[in-house]
Amino acid sequence: MPEEIKAHITGVVFQIAAKPGDRVAAGDAVIVLESMKMEIPVEAPRAGAVKEIKVQEGQTVQEGDVVAVLE
């Protein structure tokens, strides 16, 4: 079952930490957001392979936006 990973805060995409095809463990950072001078990782909720990254570095995302999809 594919699973969407959503941003838990509003911020600017600071870093894409995983690319499509990468295997991640639960708790691994998939992307890192920057908000109010803090870097905040958006973590994989479970282990799996990254199917799609939906954002680019520098892009602003709102809380609840889908940033990536797990296979």
């Binding site: 805060i9 509003t10 911020g11 109010m36 001078k37």
Partner: protein, 448 residues
């Protein structure tokens, strides 16, 4: 004195400096990013210049744009506030080269205090005690291991170019050192452009106590007593007060003497702060020097009745310090709370958004320094400080009662704030008894 002062900052601190300028009859210039077009600090100034995009590097960190704005408005002095370019020696130099006065210390003092290893070495040679640790940058993990073995675990790794807790890591035992070193090195490299690290012994349950210092161009240096700033999250202060409750007289005398000696050793001019850690036995160690006006300066102003920003303007204009040491007395008690757009229920995660409702307290012994109003947008691009609430009284108990009442009267809708957390701090037995240390939050104190 100057004719026109440009403030290279935003929010409450820009407004604070404008207020002082107006008292002296000086013209004021605001700079602002596209995100701050409707901001209060822009309206406060006589003239305002848009300097670039919302991202700080395009605007408030863009030295060229700021200098262009200063030339265009014929400003003859620039106040950097805190954060942004305030501790950039290169910016201070560029300001001077443009024939404009930088309201702050000399560039070489900024540079030497900005290099935390150099600052540690300088203070040590001025007779100020520092924590046991490396005398310079450690080249690699093996070098860090050798120092850690010598001073004993736990140790803390710190970035030479550090600040704000970035690139800092506590290491409890030797097997953890390699991974912590790599991570701290990477983070320091990304944030500061240099990955240099140094090692210090890690103190358990220390207090953070700092001393306000002030120097003038003739070489006079005074201290303005201490501030207790132990309640922190991610090495960032949340509550500050003066006098520091329960600080032994000998420790206090040692701290102020060390701060003045340290400032003299580097020929420090204008306002600065020497930060120390104080251990459970009253021993103290130099942490770093902030070569600028600090967020928590109103605490010192309320306690002493003296205006630090006015003094900054006078001293930057080449005048002597407005007060001798004997006139700087702790007459009252004052406590500051920083109200941030952060959610204390979620580990202080940022909470940007639009302020829908804002009701701020007022009354005897209450001072507010705010950069926001109802309708303000709290942007992801900047520091989350919304406003500072300062309560003061004849005694600490009176200041606490006023603070508790004021916190109960704050109403903010639209973003989550640190107010629920601050109310718990002020109600706690630990805070009321002055039993505070820098690791309280990590240890779960003040949890809901």
């Amino acid at each position: 004195m100057f004719g026109t002062v440009l403030v290279a900052n935003r929010g409450e601190i820009a407004r604070r400096v404008f207020r002082a300028c107006k008292q002296l009859g000086l013209k004021t210039v605001a700079v602002y990013s596209q995100a701050d077009r409707g901001a209060l600090h822009v309206r406060d100034a006589d003239t305002a210049v848009e300097i670039g995009g919302a991202a700080a590097r395009e605007s408030y960190l863009n030295a060229e744009r700021i200098l262009d704005a200063a030339r265009q408005t014929r400003a003859d002095a620039i106040h950097p506030g805190y954060g942004f370019l305030s501790e950039s020696a290169r910016f201070a130099e560029a300001v001077q080269r443009a024939g404009i006065t930088f309201i702050g210390p000399r560039p070489d003092a900024i540079r030497r205090m900005g290099d935390k290893i150099e600052a540690r070495r300088l203070m040590s040679s001025a007779g100020v005690s520092v924590l046991p640790g490396s005398s310079g940058a450690v080249a690699d993990v093996a070098g860090a291991e050798a120092i850690a073995r010598e001073v004993g675990y736990p140790v803390i790794l710190k970035a030479a170019a550090g600040g704000g807790g970035i690139g800092m890591a506590r290491v409890d035992k030797a097997p953890d050192l390699a991974a912590a070193f790599a991570a701290a090195n990477r983070r320091a490299q990304a944030a500061f452009g240099t990955g240099d690290l140094y090692v210090e012994r890690y103190l358990e349950r220390p207090r953070h106590v700092e001393v306000q210092v002030f120097g003038d161009e003739a070489g006079a240096v005074v201290h303005m007593h201490e501030r207790e700033c132990s309640i922190q999250r991610r090495h960032q202060k949340l509550v500050e007060e003066s006098p520091a409750p329960g600080l032994p007289a000998a420790t206090k005398a040692g701290l102020t003497a060390a701060a003045v000696a340290g400032a003299r050793a580097i020929g420090y001019t204008n306002a600065g702060t020497m930060e120390f850690l104080v251990d459970e036995r009253g021993g103290f160690y130099f942490l770093e020097m902030n070569a600028r006006l600090q967020v928590e300066h109103p605490v010192t102003e309320e306690v002493t009745g003296l205006d630090l920003v006015l003094a900054q303007l006078h001293v930057a204009a080449g005048e002597p310090l407005p007060w001798p040491q004997s006139a700087i007395v702790q007459r009252r008690a004052a406590i500051e709370c920083r109200v941030y757009a952060e959610d204390p229920a979620k580990g202080f995660l940022p909470s940007p958004g639009t302020i829908q409702t804002l009701e701020l307290p007022s009354g005897e012994g209450i001072r507010i320094e705010s950069g926001i109003e109802a309708g303000s947008t709290v942007s992801v691009h900047y520091d989350p400080l919304l406003f500072k609430l300062i309560a003061h009284g004849a005694t600490r108990a009176e200041a606490i009662e006023r603070l508790a009442g004021a916190l109960d009267h704050c109403v903010i809708e639209g973003v989550r704030t640190t107010i629920p957390f601050l109310r718990r701090v002020v109600a706690s037995a630990e805070f009321r008894q002055g039993r505070v240390h820098t690791q309280m939050l990590e240890q779960g104190a003040f949890n809901a």
